[in-house]
């Protein structure tokens, strides 16, 4: 089936926004303007963009410590995200959460999470809630290959499958859990094979091919909306940066980096769109300029926003 033009361009724009945002965060963090630590999504944009293109604003996602991409794709505003990274009052979490905890429940973002795998049961819970409330909302759980080895994975996926909860598990397999290669951490070549153990569909796709992701996730989402239960989708990808900023990445070879960059989803998609005649270079460049401007604004907003007042530490503990 054909995807309408606007959708394709939107997906492209989202990918670019993520990329520019992350590259900028990289700079600002290095410059010491962003405290704490950050985990960058650059290189994996196709997954967030492709997946979220299937979602409605009222659908849910749970994200990870590497969550900026998911948030932008689900509709997060880059200025308020950047402000949160800066620890400012205007940030999504009023400066209380930072990079690893950004959330905006109104647009279905149940939050990034710094505890690996924590989102698995939470996404299940959101799906259960939708089921109980009789809506057709879907809950998408982004998780990394590392999370697949935590105890929560088994408990969460199994429960969702026996209750046919409307969840889509999207495994972003970027080959490394921090420094640990997936090949060391598990004994199978395809994580999607684990779906069989729970009696749910499992597919492995090229996570750097946004259209492939869009299609596969689309099927899974449709299945979920129909009340046929969860699906497990493994997206093979790679990160341009280290586990977190400051990671020396001694565990990755130069060659790996080159291959990773060869598979960069953005130039790939741009080329494809040009071929399809959907997005001529001029238009594409314009998108890039617009996004650069947006992110500049976001940084400006973050820089100019005030820090929270110290006493605000005591607020929001209980409602």
């Amino acid at each position: 089936m054909a995807i309408e033009k606007e959708k394709l361009i939107d997906m492209y724009r989202v990918m670019v926004r993520i990329r520019v945002f992350e590259n900028r965060v990289y700079k600002e963090f290095a410059a010491g303007n962003i405290p704490g630590f950050v985990h960058l999504y650059a290189g994996e944009e196709a997954i967030a963009a492709g997946a979220c293109a299937n979602l409605r604003p009222d659908d849910y996602i749970t994200s990870t410590h590497r969550g900026h991409g998911h948030l932008i794709a689900k509709g997060g505003k880059t200025d308020r995200m950047m402000a949160e990274l800066y620890g400012k009052k205007t940030g999504y979490n009023k400066g209380k959460g930072g990079s690893m905890h950004i959330a905006e429940v109104d647009i279905g973002i149940l939050g990034a999470d710094a505890i690996v795998g924590a989102g698995i049961p939470i996404a299940g819970g959101a799906a259960l809630s939708a089921k109980l409330r009789g809506t057709d909302q879907v809950s998408v759980c982004f998780l990394g290959d590392g999370a697949c080895n935590t105890s929560r994975f088994h408990e969460g996926v199994n429960l969702a499958s026996i209750w046919k909860l409307p969840v889509v598990y999207i495994i972003e397999n970027n080959v490394y859990a921090e420094t640990t290669r997936v090949s060391y951490a598990m004994n199978i070549s395809k994580i999607a094979d684990r779906a069989a153990a729970y009696g749910i569909p499992g597919k492995t796709v090229d996570g750097n091919d946004v259209l492939a992701v869009y299609r596969v996730v689309g099927e899974a989402v449709a299945r979920a909306r129909k009340g046929e239960g969860p699906s497990l989708i493994e997206c093979i990808t790679c990160r341009h940066y280290g586990h977190y900023e400051g990671d020396t990445q001694t565990y990755r070879t130069k060659q790996e980096f080159e291959e990773c960059h060869k598979r960069d989803p953005i130039p790939r998609f741009r080329k494809k769109l040009a071929e399809m005649g959907v997005l001529p270079d001029k238009k594409a460049d314009k998108i890039h300029q617009e996004v650069e401007a947006e992110i500049n604004e976001a940084v400006k907003f973050a820089e100019e926003s005030p820090f929270p007042a110290p006493e605000e530490t005591l607020e929001d503990v209980y409602t």
């Binding site: 405290p35 704490g36 620890g87 690893m100 505890i115 921090e178 060391y184 820090f307 530490t313």
Partner: protein, 327 residues
Amino acid sequence: MKMKEITFQKAINEAIDEEMARDPTIFVIGEDIGKHWGGSLGELAGLFDKYGAERVRETPISETAILGGAIGAAATGMRPIAYLYFDDFLGVCGDELINQLQMKYMYGGKTKLPLTITAYIGAGLSAAHQHSKCLFGWLMNISGLKVVAPSTPYDAKGLLKSAIREDNPVIFLEHKVLLLSRETSQIPVEEYTIPLGKADIKREGKDVTVVAIALMVHRALAAADKLQQKGISIEVVDPRSLVPLDKQTIIDSVKKTGRLVIMDEEPKTASAAAEIAAMVAEEAFDFLDAPIKRVCAPDTPIPFSPVLEKFWMPGEEDLIKAVTEIM
């Protein structure tokens, strides 16, 4: 005695290295402890190359399996060091912590459990709520678990060696700020250990006893200098291990000063500070010359923004204020 300079990070490294060389039943199990990082703050650097993958066992992200596995191995003749990363992650293996570690007691003393858990603690890096907690009070309340929280490289090495040799479960807490600090202390070149349950008087004084834990020891010492100028003499007691707690040293100090302030980097309610205050009120009431004060964090999760985090963490000024209130 021949001495040498050493950082906190190196102290941890040397302690584990020396013990592993001494006792072949010791092995480390945890995430990212392999050759690349050697622990995410590098404190295990070189051990993988020296002892190999068999004894420095990298795991997937599986806290439950790490702690559970360590318990199984400890109960059956090995002496594992479970590298839990951030103590915030203890929640993931909460059952192992509160229900399984107590094996020795539950089995009527039939097993011993020579197991050391190491974990990072503490705020100060804007790591936000899921990577900044100390959990002292929470851990002290877990029966059957000894809790150690050193403040200097010297203490860290001596205590970690004792913890590893201990036949009971010990959790050894390393404050991130101290682990990343370049500050060094003098330690003997020869091997040494420090027994668990022995407090250390980091500074002698006569007016007020300040019991401070881990990073707070350094803030207390800094505050003590300032107070000295005001003519107030502070005695800084570092318990070093919270379980077992060296009550006598604390009580003796209170008998001398008549005043007690406890500085503890965690929410005040049911904290280590609360326990120490209660203990002194119970056992040395007649020697108190002023109410006991607790300088702790507010009862909130830990915020990310540096501004908020600074407000949340107990600081020199908070201590100085508390002390002057009771003088």
